[in-house]
């Protein structure tokens, strides 16, 4: 099966391959994009902008809460080391558990 057709295929292949690869090389990422109607676009933007603000505010509040928690820097290091986590993750978890290292670790072990 393979032996017979192999010879013919190879000849065709090489020309095909060359053409293919030439075409492939020419492929670029450049694209001309169509423009939408500006005024309609602007009003559409406004409609979705409102909800974005509310979300941002909620997040800001949460961050403030967490920043206020008192934590022990040494414990952050221990958690990061023992559980092989990023320091930021360790710190955040500790804050979320109000500085209780044992509770923080237990939650991470689940």
């Amino acid at each position: 099966m393979e032996a017979g057709d192999g010879g013919v295929d190879r000849v065709v292949d090489s020309k095909d391959l060359q053409q293919q690869s030439k075409a492939f090389d020419k492929l670029t990422d450049r694209v001309e994009d169509r423009q939408l109607d500006s005024s309609r676009a602007q009003s559409a933007m406004a409609s979705i902008a409102a909800s974005a603000e509310a979300e941002k505010n909620a997040m800001r509040l949460r961050e403030k809460e967490l920043a206020a928690v008192k934590i022990n820097a040494a414990e952050v290091d221990i958690i990061a080391n023992e559980l092989e986590l990023d320091k930021k993750v360790a710190e955040r978890t500790l804050r979320e558990h109000k500085g209780d290292a044992v509770a923080a670790i237990r939650s991470l072990l689940h």
Partner: protein
């Protein structure tokens, strides 16, 4: 962008950029050099030149130039952007993101940089970042369609809570279109976008079902078949059926619509109707083989008892007459349902008896062709193989071979039976025999390669495998084609033989394939948004997210971790170091020889490149294959910290295969060695969650707390914290509640007295907890009894113990409990149970039968064309008298 250049040079600079984008690198290079002649220190030009060179495969120069350019002009966002692009082309994504962010600090509203950043964020799945960047892009350029779609998709991906937002965004976008309708040339893409929106709505059930259906109906210009499938996907099965009936006159392909109808009916549980429609299908198209099978096969899953027997008989008989080799595989899932295997056995034996008697089925008058008996025997052989009755299986298959020696499938099955029975060498040689019967069949070639690898005949396997690879770089071709089964099997074989270096190379090669597949998605982030193939895009992303949970990756990662564990436990330096130091002189000589050989190889290659570059099958770009600097994995073995290497793969396993027991077993082993107590404890918890009764879980539990109890009192803050956590957690482990470890061990034995593997686990733990109790531990193992499995099988009986388990117990006795006498007794005992096993040197295995039997790698092999010759010198086993006659028959 080149602001400080005079107008002529500024134009040249723009030309460089344009040339880069349109891949006209030589042009860009010329322009860059023209500028640099006058302004040799212009940072941005240097950077662009570097970038252009990078695309011309001059990497080291590229990096130099880009860095120099950046140094000269640190405040230029162009330089940072280019640096980022350079990193990206080398897959250094984190560095690239850093560079982009630096660029954005200088020029925060630069669209190009934002776009590139968003692509990277999508690739790295930094989804919150992705949403932010997309939002910024939309705010800056709200009149670009892609920005709307991109923002919607980003929201969808970010989390399910934002899917509603995504729908909002799409609706806002729709509001921007003139008359709510897109221009003609965008019709198809608009349709795709709507279908995507429907998918999102399905996810959040925002509209009640009725409303959603109305929405679907409004999708104008959507092909009926697509609409119906979409309805089916969203679970609106009744509606889909209605739609199908409505549109039936318009659907041209009747066969397809009928098949879709049946599938809907089956899904709705209306089986009778479904069956009737299948009959209609049959009438329409009597040769529709698929229909017949589906019609009769599905009931076999649901029926029981006598009804099952009757239905099975109806299904099987015509297929036996026709001679369908895959019949057993087809029925194989039924064997998991209790009782059905016995019924099938009775049935087939009856057929066999009847056919060998008067050549007819029990209730028929027509005579069956002689081949029917052959296929019955073939089926029975596989049946008994599945039930573990290898003697009977072999006798049936031998009968079949005697009946018709020219059927290749028979030899394949016999090879498989031998493999299950434990004679890997005979299995390999038989598979090779089958291969030689049809040298053009790639499947059989692969099967024989697999068997050879299982029998640890790696060099031979390689030779056979390359018979089917493309000319040129034979061995590398298997790697380029991502032939993972081959790499895994080789890796596992090398591991068994103790060649850790080569094993590691194979496992890491498989891992690299997965990294490549992950990498491949990069171009689609921009492409799919442009082409609006959003549903397919999201599916692709989901697929990529799950990619590393694939079984092959799991095997490769587990294999690599085991290699590293072995490396840690018995580092190469200890005994080998002595050798190394004394033969330093010979080492130097070796190095020189190697370097010479490599140089000669490179020269030969370059010569070949030169001659073949003149128009053969080489494509436009010259692919210079990098010479592998470490073909035997020696560098990998020299790693300083095998455990941290292992951890890399462990993390991937933990993330993607967290429901696999093996993942946590490996985690336990690695973390205990790393002294990461809490992580080891986490592994134990996961094991208990998944399967607390598993013998391995029990072992890890006992080992862990034994270690903890033998640790000194905590001194440092870290130790104290770990201690308090363990104290807090211990009460939640019921197995240890108010018991000592040895008591828990005894209770475990009591609960699982009849299971060999559980007893072995208890024995091992007894010894671990108290090494003086070695004899007692051995006794627990030796007292295990191999019971007969209660079945209603017609022929012979099935013993409970599995070969794999018995081998594991032998290793336990030999290596852990270190009782060589007990190990020997065990071996003799198991040789009785498994007469075909090479490991136990069973009486009928090729290990005993042929002292000459050595299909080892040194045997001269003439490329497989002289197959039967090799077999002859090896196994007297396979000759059943007919081989001689068969040789003459061979094509």
């Amino acid at each position: 962008m080149g602001a400080s250049l005079p107008p002529k040079e500024a134009n040249l600079f723009k030309l460089i950029v344009k040339s880069y984008e349109t891949k006209q690198y030589k042009k860009g290079l010329k322009a860059a050099e023209a500028i640099l002649k006058k302004f040799p220190d212009h940072g941005e030009t240097l950077s662009m030149k570097g970038l252009t060179l990078n695309c011309m495969d001059r990497k080291s120069e590229a990096y130099e130039l880009v860095r120099l350019g950046l140094k000269n002009d640190v405040k230029s966002h162009v330089c940072w952007h280019v640096y980022g692009l350079l990193y990206r082309s080398d897959r250094e994504y984190r560095e690239a993101i850093k560079c982009y962010r630096n660029a954005l600090r200088i020029d925060p509203d630069n669209i190009e940089i934002l776009r590139d950043l968003s692509l990277l964020q999508a690739q790295m799945r930094d989804l919150t970042g992705f949403v932010e960047t997309r939002q910024q892009l939309l705010t800056l350029k709200p009149n670009h369609r892609m920005n709307w779609i991109g923002f919607a998709v980003a929201n969808h991906l970010c989390s399910k809570y934002f899917v509603a937002k995504a729908v909002e965004i799409l609706e806002a976008y729709e509001g921007t279109l003139e008359d709510d309708y897109p221009p003609d040339n965008e019709r198809c893409e608009h349709g795709e976008m709507l279908l995507y929106k429907v998918l999102l709505m399905h996810i959040i059930h925002v509209r009640e079902k009725h409303g959603l259906f109305k929405e679907l109906c409004l999708l104008q210009g959507i092909k009926s078949v697509v609409l119906i499938s979409l309805l089916e996907e969203c679970g609106f099965l009744e509606r889909a059926l209605e739609e199908l009936h409505k549109k039936e006159p318009k659907i041209v392909d009747k066969l397809v619509s009928k098949e879709q109808e049946v599938s809907l009916l089956v899904k709705l549980g209306r089986l009778e109707e479904g069956a009737n429609h299948y009959k209609a299908l049959l009438a329409m198209n009597p040769d529709n083989y698929r229909s017949i099978l589906c019609l009769l096969r599905i009931p076999l899953d649901f029926l029981q008892g006598d009804k099952f027997c009757a239905a099975a008989a109806n299904y099987i008989k015509p297929l036996l007459t026709k001679g369908v080799p895959s019949l057993f595989s087809d029925l194989s899932p039924l064997y998991d349902q209790p009782g059905k295997a016995d019924i099938l056995e009775q049935l087939i034996l009856e057929l066999e008896h009847s056919i060998s008697g008067d050549g007819r089925y029990p209730d028929r008058t027509e005579k069956e062709p002689p081949s029917t008996l052959l296929w019955i025997l073939f089926f029975l052989a596989q049946h008994y193989d599945r039930r573990g009755q290898y003697d009977i299986a072999l006798s049936k298959i031998d009968e079949a071979i005697q009946h018709t020696p020219t059927v290749i499938d028979l030899y394949s099955v016999k090879s498989r039976i031998l493999k299950h029975a434990g004679d890997l060498v005979a299995a390999a040689s038989l598979a090779d025999e089958a291969r030689c019967m049809d040298l053009a069949d790639r499947y059989i070639n692969s099967e024989s390669v697999k068997r050879m690898l299982q029998a640890d005949q790696v060099a031979l396997a390689e030779k056979i495998a390359v018979l089917f690879t493309k000319d040129g770089d034979q061995h590398n071709n298997l790697h380029d084609m991502q032939c993972m089964w081959y790499e895994l099997a080789s890796g596992e074989s090398y591991f068994r033989q103790g060649d850790l270096g080569r094993a590691l190379k194979k496992f890491l090669a498989v891992e690299k394939h997965y990294a490549d597949i992950t990498e491949d998605q990069f171009d689609f982030h921009s492409y799919c948004l442009r082409k609006m193939t959003l549903r397919a895009y999201v599916d692709m992303l989901r697929f990529q997210d799950r990619l590393h949970s694939h079984a092959y990756f799991h095997k490769a990662a587990a294999g690599a971790i085991r290699c590293y564990l072995k490396l840690y436990d018995s580092p190469l330096n200890s005994p080998a170091e002595v050798e190394d130091n004394t033969s330093k002189a010979t080492q130097k000589k070796k190095m020189k020889k190697q370097r010479k050989a490599e140089r000669a190889k490179k020269e030969a290659e370059e010569k070949n490149e030169g001659s073949s570059a003149s128009g053969t099958s080489k494509s436009g770009k010259r692919h210079i294959k990098p010479v592998d600097p470490d073909p035997y994995g020696e560098k990998l073995l020299k790693t300083d910290d095998p455990l941290s290497e292992a951890t890399k793969y462990l993390k991937l396993l933990q993330k993607n295969s967290s429901d696999s027991l093996e993942t946590h077993l490996l985690s336990f082993e690695v973390n205990m060695r790393k002294q990461k107590i809490l992580l080891a404890f986490q592994a134990v918890k996961q094991l208990l969650r998944l399967d607390a009764d598993n013998p391995d879980s029990h072992c890890c539990l006992i080992k862990f707390f034994h270690k903890v109890s033998s640790m000194p009192a905590p001194v440092s803050d870290a130790e104290k914290l770990v201690w308090s956590v363990l104290e807090a957690e211990r009460p939640s482990i019921s197995q240890l509640h108010e018991k000592t470890l040895s008591e828990a061990n005894k209770i475990f034995l009591g609960n699982h007295e009849d299971s060999l593997m559980h007893r072995a686990a208890v024995a091992e733990m007894l010894y671990t907890l108290d090494p003086t109790k070695k004899l007692e531990a051995v006794k627990i193992i030796e007292d295990s009894s191999n019971k007969i499995v209660p079945t209603n099988g017609a022929l012979g009986s099935v013993m409970e113990w599995k070969l794999k388990d018995c081998i594991a117990v032998h290793k336990l006795l030999d290596n852990v409990l270190i009782d060589t006498d007990a190990a020997l007794r065990w071996k003799v005992r198991c040789a009785e149970y498994f007469p075909y096993s090479i490991y136990f040197e069973g009486s009928r295995s090729s290990a005993v039968n042929n002292s000459l039997n050595n299909l080892d790698t040194e045997t001269p092999l003439n490329g497989g064309a002289n197959g039967p010759d090799i077999i002859q010198s090896g196994n007297a086993f396979t000759s059943n008298g007919k081989l001689e006659a068969f040789k003459n028959l061979k094509i």
